[in-house]
C-alpha cells in the first residue's frame, strides 16, 4: 500500500513538470514545532496526549514529568504545478508507536481544483473528523497546550490513505463546504499489550459553515477494524482448558477482548467563534461502538478565551463519559492467589477501558513574536471509579480520583 502510494505520488509529481510554464512549479518549505514540559502529581497514572504515544509524562513510581508528550517538529513541502494542481508532503518528528518514518508521514497528497469551488485530494490525508483533528499537531494554531484531553485523546488516528472531495457553496453571508471522504487508515497505537497495528477502512461526510468569525462543523465518520489488537496473551488465558476448569465460563470473555471486524460510528458537532478579542470553542461527540472493549462514549468540551493585546487567557471544561456495561469475570472455584490474580488482570482488561473523567483548565498564551507563542496550562482532572481510561495505568493498586497536570512550552511556525 505504501509503495503504491509512493508510485502514485511520483507519477503525479513528474507529469505536470513536463508542461510547466514560467510561474510553475512553485515550491515552498515551511514548518511548525512545539517544545513543552508537562508534569503531574501522580505516580500511578501516566499522562498521554493520545494513544499513539509510547511514553507517558509520568514515569512509574517516579512521578515528575517529561518533555516528550508535548514536543514535536513538523516540516512541510508544498509544490504548485499550476493554479489548480498542487501537492503537499508533511512529516513530523514526534513520539509515535510503530514505524517512526512511515507513521510520522502525516500528509502526502495531490490536490486538484478543477473549479474554484471544488477540491479533490488523493493520497495520505489528515483525519478531518472533528473541529481540530486535522491540525492537532500545530500548537501555534490554537490557544491551549494541546487539544482538550477529554475529547481528543480517544481520537487516535491522525491520518488515512484515500481521497476526499469538497464542494463549496456561497450561502447567505458565509460559505458551506460539503465534504465526503473514504480510505484506509493504517495507524499504530501503543496499548497495554504492545503495539496495535490498526488497519481500518473508513468513510464519512462533513458539513462546515464558515463566516467571518464563526466556523461550525458537523461530521459523521464510519470506521471498521480489519485487524486485531495484540490480545494473544489474554486469549491464551481465556481459552486455557486448565483455567476454564477452575474458572467456569472464562472462554465467554473472548469477544470482550477483541476489536477485529467491529465497527465505530463517530457523530460530532463543533463550533468555533473568534472575533479577534473573544475566542470560544465547543464540541460534542458521540462514539458508538460494537465492542465492549471500547464501548459507547459521549464527550465534549467548551473553551472560552479573552485576548488582552498579545496575551490570551482561557479556561476549558471537558468531559468524557463511557457507557460500558460491566462484564463479570468468572470467580475461581478455588480461592487460590494466582487464580485471583488472573481474575483481577482480566477484570482490568475488560472493564477499565471506559472513560469517566472531567477536567477544568486555566491557561495563557503569549504571542511574543508573530510566529512564536509561549503557553502555560493547569488542568485538574476528576475520575469516577475505573474512569481513567485515557491514561496509562502504571500502578493499579493506587487509583487516584483527582489529578493535577501543569505544563508550559513554546509553539512556533517557520
Amino acid at each position: 500500500m505504501t509503495k503504491k502510494l509512493a508510485l502514485l505520488l511520483i507519477a503525479f509529481l513528474l507529469s505536470p513538470i513536463l508542461q510547466a510554464d514560467d510561474q510553475y512549479p512553485d515550491w515552498s518549505v515551511s514548518g511548525f514545532g512545539s517544545f513543552g514540559y508537562v508534569g503531574t502529581d501522580t505516580n500511578s497514572l501516566g499522562f498521554i496526549r493520545n494513544r499513539t504515544q509510547t511514553k507517558s509524562a509520568t514515569k512509574s513510581g517516579k512521578g515528575g514529568g517529561g518533555v516528550t508528550t508535548d514536543s514535536r517538529l513538523g516540516i512541510q513541502l508544498d509544490v504548485d504545478f499550476s493554479d489548480s494542481l498542487h501537492t503537499t508532503v508533511q512529516w513530523i518528528a514526534r513520539d509515535h508507536a510503530g514505524d517512526f518514518f512511515e507513521q510520522n508521514l502525516e500528509l502526502a497528497f495531490i490536490s486538484w481544483r478543477p473549479a474554484y469551488d471544488l477540491d479533490i485530494r488523493a493520497g495520505r490525508l489528515a483525519l478531518d473528523t472533528f473541529l481540530i483533528s486535522d491540525h492537532r499537531n500545530v500548537g501555534f494554531s490554537y490557544p491551549w497546550m494541546r487539544p482538550p484531553h477529554d475529547f481528543y485523546t480517544n481520537i487516535s488516528a491522525y491520518h488515512f490513505d484515500g481521497a476526499d472531495i469538497a464542494k463549496q457553496f456561497s450561502l447567505d453571508s458565509g460559505y458551506l463546504t460539503v465534504k465526503a471522504f473514504a480510505g484506509y487508515g493504517m495507524n499504530h497505537f501503543s496499548v497495554g499489550l504492545g503495539v496495535f497495528d490498526m488497519d481500518m477502512p473508513m468513510t464519512g461526510i462533513s458539513l462546515a459553515y464558515e463566516t467571518d468569525n464563526w466556523l461550525t462543523k458537523a461530521v459523521y465518520n464510519y470506521q471498521h477494524f480489519d485487524t486485531e489488537i495484540p490480545n494473544e496473551p489474554l486469549l491464551g488465558l481465556i481459552n486455557s482448558p486448565q483455567l476454564n476448569a477452575v474458572m467456569p465460563g472464562l472462554s465467554g470473555l473472548a469477544p470482550h477482548v477483541s476489536l477485529k471486524d467491529t465497527n465505530l460510528h463517530y457523530m460530532s458537532l463543533g463550533t468555533r467563534y473568534d472575533d479577534a478579542v473573544w475566542l470560544m470553542h465547543a464540541e460534542i461527540s458521540y462514539l458508538e461502538s460494537d465492542t465492549s472493549l471500547i464501548g459507547d462514549v459521549l464527550s465534549g468540551y467548551m473553551s472560552v478565551g479573552r485576548r488582552f493585546s498579545d496575551v490570551t487567557l482561557y479556561s476549558v471544561y471537558g468531559i468524557a463519559h463511557g457507557f460500558h456495561r460491566h462484564v463479570d469475570v468468572p470467580t475461581p472455584v478455588v480461592a487460590d492467589p494466582a487464580l485471583l490474580g488472573v481474575q483481577s488482570l482480566l477484570d482490568v482488561a475488560v472493564n477499565n477501558n471506559t472513560p469517566k473523567q472531567q477536567s477544568f483548565s486555566l491557561g495563557a498564551r503569549w504571542d511574543v513574536h508573530p510566529k512564536i507563542a509561549l503557553k502555560t496550562q493547569w488542568v485538574h482532572y476528576w475520575f469516577e471509579e475505573n474512569g481513567a481510561a485515557y491514561w496509562r495505568h502504571l500502578d493499579d493498586t493506587i487509583k487516584p480520583n483527582q489529578v493535577n497536570v501543569w505544563s508550559f512550552g513554546v509553539d512556533f511556525i517557520f
Binding site: D22, Q23, S30, F32, G74, Q76, D78, D80, D83, S84, H86, T88, Q90, L107, F109, S111, R113, A115, Y116, D117, R121, L125, A126, D128, I132, D134, H135, N137, V138, F140, S141, Y142, Q168, S173, G174, Y175, E210, D212, D275, A276, D310, D367, H369, P370, K371, A373, I413
Partner: protein
Amino acid sequence: MFGLLVWTSYFKPMKFITLSLLLLFTSPLLADIVVIGNLQNSNPVMSARDVQEIYMGRKRALADNAIAYPIDNSDLRKEFYRYLTHRPIAQINAYWARLKFSGHRAPPEILLDTKGIISKVKANKNAIAYINDQYVEESEVRILFVIKESDEPYQN
C-alpha cells in the same frame, strides 16, 4: 513671535534628526494602500468584504470564476490586516497555520519588494496585491480598492 520662541527653545538637533528618521522609515505606513489587480482582472472594483474574504481564503474566485491569486506585501501586511480584520499578524499567522498545515488552503504568497509585486500582478491575470499608492501606475495595473490612511478598520 511667541510661538517661534517656544519652538526654538524646544528645538533639539538630535531629536529633530530622530523624528525625521522615524518619519522616513514609517512613511509607507502613512500613505494610502491600494489593492491592485491585473489589467485583465474580471473585477472592475472590489468591496472591502471581497478583499477580506479573498485574503482570508474563504472566497476563492474572481468575477469570472477564475481562482484568485492573492499576494501579501511584507511591508504593509500589518496595516492591511489590521484594517480588514482587526487582527494582529500573530493571529493571522495562527489562522493560516491551521489551514496550511492541515493541507486545506495555502496562505497568500508574501513578497518583499513592491517592484516584484507589480511584476507578478502584471504577469498573472488572476493576481491581486496591495501596495503603497505612490507606486501605482494605472497603465500597468488596475486599482480595485483603496484603503485611505484615515479609514477606520473595516466592519462587516
